[in-house]
Symmetry: C2
Subunit: 457 residues, 2 copies
C-alpha cells in the first residue's frame, strides 16, 4: 500500500496549490519543502517586490501630489520601514498558506525530497510510496559565467535584502525582474542603468508596448543591444564593461549590480534525470495535462519550462489535480493553453497583456489586423494621470474572422483589468462581441473598448 495518495515535491505556487486542491478532495497528501512554504514567489519573488513597489508608488504619489492639490513637505523614503512592511506582508501570507494546508490535512515536511521513480520519492533518506508524484521544484536564477561577475553581483533575492537604497544600480537584463527592480529603485532615487542584450526590453511583449514601457519608466537609462563582457572593481564600486550596439566598449560603475538575465528550471537536485524523466531544454517534459513520461509522475510550474509565471504554476497545478482526481478521463478543458496565460509587469507605469503579439501572430502565419489607442481616450486616466502620461492599449485580431488574438496594455491598473482579456480570448470573442461588452464609465478599462472601435474602423 502507498504511504500517501500524492507526494508533492516543492511548496511554491504550483506545489502548495496542488496540495490544497488534493487535500480539499480528501486525499492523503505529503508536501515536501526544504525551505519556507510559498516558494520563490511568496518569499523572495512576486510578493516582496510588489510590496516594495507599492511603497515606491506611495512615495512618488506623495512627491507628485501637488498636481492634484495635495501639498506635502518633508517626504522621505524609509527603506527599513519599507522592508518591515514587506516582511510583515510575506509573513502574513506564508502563515495563511500554512494554516490552510494544515486545515486541509496536508502533511508538510521541511526536508529536501527527490523523485526516484514512478510512485517513489526519497525524503531525508527514506523512500515513500504514493500513487502520484508531483514535481514542483521551481526555478533558480541563471548566473552566466561572465568574467569577474562572481562575488560582484547580486541576484533578485540579494537585492531584496540590501540594507540601504543603492545610490547607483546597474541591472544586467531587461526582462520582468530586471525592469521591475530598475523601476523600483529609480522611483526611490537611485541612479539606474539597465544593460540588455536584445534590441528591446521585455521580449515577450508586443514591441509597440515594450518600447512605450521603456519610455515611460522615469529615471532609468536603458542600454539596448549591449553585451556585458566583464566586471571588475571593489565591493561597493563595481564596473560593468559591455560592448554596445555599435561595437564600442562602454563601462558603468555602480555600488550594486543585479544579475537578472533569466531563470532556469530547478532540476539538479530533483532526481528527475536519475529517475528517468524525459527532459527538454533543461526542463521536465510534460504534455498538456502535466503528465511526464513516467506513469503517475506529474510536473507543474517553472520546472516544466512551459511558463515561468506563478499563475501559470497555479493553472498547471489545477490541471494536474483535476486529471489526478478524474481517474484517467481528461476533464473538460483541463489542458494547458499557453496562449491564454496573461503576463503583468508592475513597474511604474504598469503593463499587462495576454495572447499573441502582432509579430507572434505573423510568425504563425495568421493574417492579423491591429490597433493601438492612447489611454488619454479614458476620462478616468486623464483625471488621474493627465493627458501626457504613458498609457496605451493594443488589440490584435484575425483579419477575416475578426477573432481577438491578443490584448496588450500599458498604464495604471493594467494588471488588474487583464483577466477580462483572458476571458475574451478563452471564449474566442470577435471584435464585434467585444464591442458589446459594457465597460463601466469612467474607467481606464474603457481603453480596451476604444481599441475595439478603432480596429477595423
Amino acid at each position: 500500500m502507498s504511504d500517501y495518495d500524492v507526494i508533492i515535491i516543492g511548496g511554491g505556487p504550483g506545489g502548495y496549490l496542488a496540495a490544497e486542491r488534493l487535500g480539499h478532495a480528501g486525499m492523503r497528501v505529503l508536501l515536501a519543502e526544504a525551505d519556507t512554504v510559498g516558494g520563490t514567489c511568496l518569499n523572495v519573488g512576486c510578493i516582496p517586490t510588489k510590496s516594495l513597489l507599492h511603497s515606491a508608488k506611495t512615495y512618488r504619489h506623495a512627491l507628485d501630489g501637488a498636481m492634484f492639490g495635495v501639498n506635502v513637505t518633508g517626504v522621505q523614503a524609509d527603506w527599513s520601514a519599507m522592508q518591515a512592511w514587506k516582511a510583515k506582508t510575506v509573513g502574513t501570507l506564508v502563515g495563511g498558506v500554512q494554516a490552510n494546508l494544515r486545515r486541509l490535512g496536508v502533511t508538510i515536511v521541511h526536508e529536501h525530497a527527490r523523485v526516484v521513480g514512478a510512485g517513489r520519492v526519497e525524503v531525508a533518506g527514506s523512500v515513500h510510496k504514493a500513487d502520484h508524484v508531483i514535481v514542483a521544484t521551481g526555478s533558480e536564477p541563471v548566473m552566466p559565467p561572465i568574467p569577474g561577475a562572481d562575488g560582484r553581483v547580486v541576484d533578485s533575492t540579494g537585492l531584496l535584502a540590501v540594507e540601504v537604497i543603492p545610490e547607483r544600480l546597474v541591472v544586467i537584463g531587461g526582462g520582468v525582474i530586471g525592469v521591475e527592480f530598475a523601476s523600483l529603485f529609480a522611483a526611490l532615487g537611485s541612479q539606474v542603468d539597465v544593460v540588455e542584450l536584445l534590441p528591446e526590453i521585455l521580449p515577450f511583449m508586443d514591441t509597440d508596448i515594450a518600447s512605450r514601457v521603456r519610455a515611460g519608466i522615469e529615471g532609468v537609462t536603458f542600454h539596448l543591444g549591449c553585451r556585458v563582457e566583464s566586471l571588475d572593481g571593489e565591493p561597493g564600486s563595481t564596473t560593468v564593461r559591455f560592448t554596445d550596439a555599435d561595437g564600442s566598449e562602454q563601462a558603468l560603475t555602480a555600488d550594486t549590480v543585479l544579475m537578472a538575465v533569466g531563470r532556469r528550471p530547478r532540476i539538479a537536485d530533483s532526481g528527475a534525470a536519475e529517475a528517468g524523466l524525459d527532459l527538454v531544454r533543461g526542463a521536465i517534459r510534460v504534455d498538456d495535462t502535466m503528465r511526464t513520461n513516467l506513469p503517475g509522475v506529474w510536473a507543474v510550474g517553472d520546472v516544466t519550462g512551459r511558463s515561468l509565471l506563478a499563475h501559470a504554476a497555479y493553472r498547471m497545478a489545477e490541471i494536474a489535480t483535476a486529471n489526478i482526481l478524474s481517474l484517467g478521463r481528461v476533464p473538460p478543458g483541463e489542458r494547458l493553453r499557453e496562449d491564454t496565460i496573461p503576463w503583468a509587469v508592475y513597474a511604474i507605469p504598469e503593463s499587462a497583456g495576454v495572447g499573441l503579439s502582432e509579430s507572434q501572430a505573423e510568425a504563425r502565419g495568421l493574417d492579423v489586423t491591429s490597433a493601438v489607442v492612447p489611454l488619454y481616450l479614458s476620462g478616468r486616466f486623464v483625471a488621474e494621470n493627465g493627458v501626457g502620461a504613458p498609457g496605451a492599449v493594443k488589440l490584435v485580431a484575425e483579419t477575416g474572422s475578426r477573432v481577438v488574438r491578443g490584448i496588450h496594455m500599458l498604464g495604471t491598473y493594467a494588471p488588474e483589468m487583464i483577466w477580462g482579456a483572458v476571458s475574451v480570448l478563452e471564449n474566442e470573442l470577435t471584435i464585434d462581441d467585444l464591442r458589446q461588452i459594457v465597460f463601466p464609465h469612467p474607467t481606464v478599462s474603457e481603453g480596451i473598448r476604444e481599441a475595439s472601435w478603432a480596429i477595423f474602423s
Copy 2:
C-alpha cells in the same frame, strides 16, 4: 428631402456617442446641445467627481504613507488646486469630444431643441427634418418638496462648486452620488452624516456588499431608515430634522446640505409628451432596440429610465445607431441587456458589480448559490492594504447549471476589473469555466478566482 439623416437632442454620453458613430458612418448628423457638450457626466457628474476623489485618495495616501515606509512632515489639502485640476481635466475631455465630433463632420448647435413628431425637431424656433431623431436629454436631480429645503440645500452640481471644504456636511440620500460625495469630503476632513430612508445604502447592490461598503467608509456616520422631515436655519448653519428608524425625532446641523435622493429623466422641455411619445414612469418608453412608439424616433440614456448610468447611455447609443445603420434588420446582439450593465462606486473603498444580487435572483425565482470571500486572500491586496482593510468578492450562480449570474466586489481596483465579469456574464460561463480563467498573480482580481473555488466547494 430631410435636412439631416439624424438629429440628436442632447450632447451627453448617449447623444455624443451616437453622433460619433453615425458621423463615422458618413451620416449627416445634427447634434443639438443647449449647454456644453459632454452632458452631466462629463461636466458636472462622473468626471469631476472622479477627479476630486483621486485628489482625496492622493491626500489619504500621503497621510497614511508611514505604514508603507513613506514619511512626510506636512500634508495639506489645497481645495482650490483640486478644483483647478478638476477644471483642467473636464476642459481637456470636453475639448476632445468636440474635436472628435468636428472631425467626423457632425454639426453641433448650442441651442435648445425638442422633438415635435416623427422626423421633426424644433431647434431655436425652426423645424428641421431628419430620417431619424434620437432623444438623449438625460436626467436632472430630484428635489423633493421637503419643508424648508428650498434655498438650504445644494445638488451635486452645487456641491462640486463650493469654494471651501465644508466643515460639516449632511447628505440626504445614500445612493451612489450621496455616498461618493460623503466619502470625498470625509477623506478631506469634513464631518459627514448621511441620512437614508431605506434600511441600507446603495440599494441596487447586494446587501452583503453594501453593508461592507458602509462599514469601510471612514469618517461618515450613516443614519439608515430615517425620513427627513424639514430643514431650517441660516445659510451656513442649516438644521436637518428627521425621524429615525425607531420613530424618534433627530436633528443634524451642518454648513452644507447635499440633496441626493435621485435623478429623474429630463422630459419636460424635450417635447416628448406633446409629440406623442409614450411615457412610462416619467421616462420615454423604448423597446430593447431603443425604438420609441413613433417611427424613426429613438431614445437613449437616462431619459429612457432603463438605466441612469453613463456607460448604459453609451451602450444604448450603440444599439440605436447599429439599428439605424442596419436599415431595419436587428444586427446580432444589438439589444439592451440590463443584466450585464455593470455599476461602480468610487468611494474610498471602491466597489463594483454586475448581474443579479442574491435577492434579485431569488425574486426571479432562480435557485442560486452564493459565496463571499475576503480580499485578504489576495497577496497584492494584503501587500497594498493590509489584512484588515475592507475587501470582498461575492459570487452568485445558479445551483443546478452553475451558470454565473452575479459578481460583486468591494475593494481597490474593483471598477477596473469588473469588465471581465461583464464578459463572464455575457458569455454565460459556468463556475467551472470561470475556474479555468488564468488571473495574473499577484492581483486583487484573484479574489474573483478565490470566490469561484469557494462556491460549490
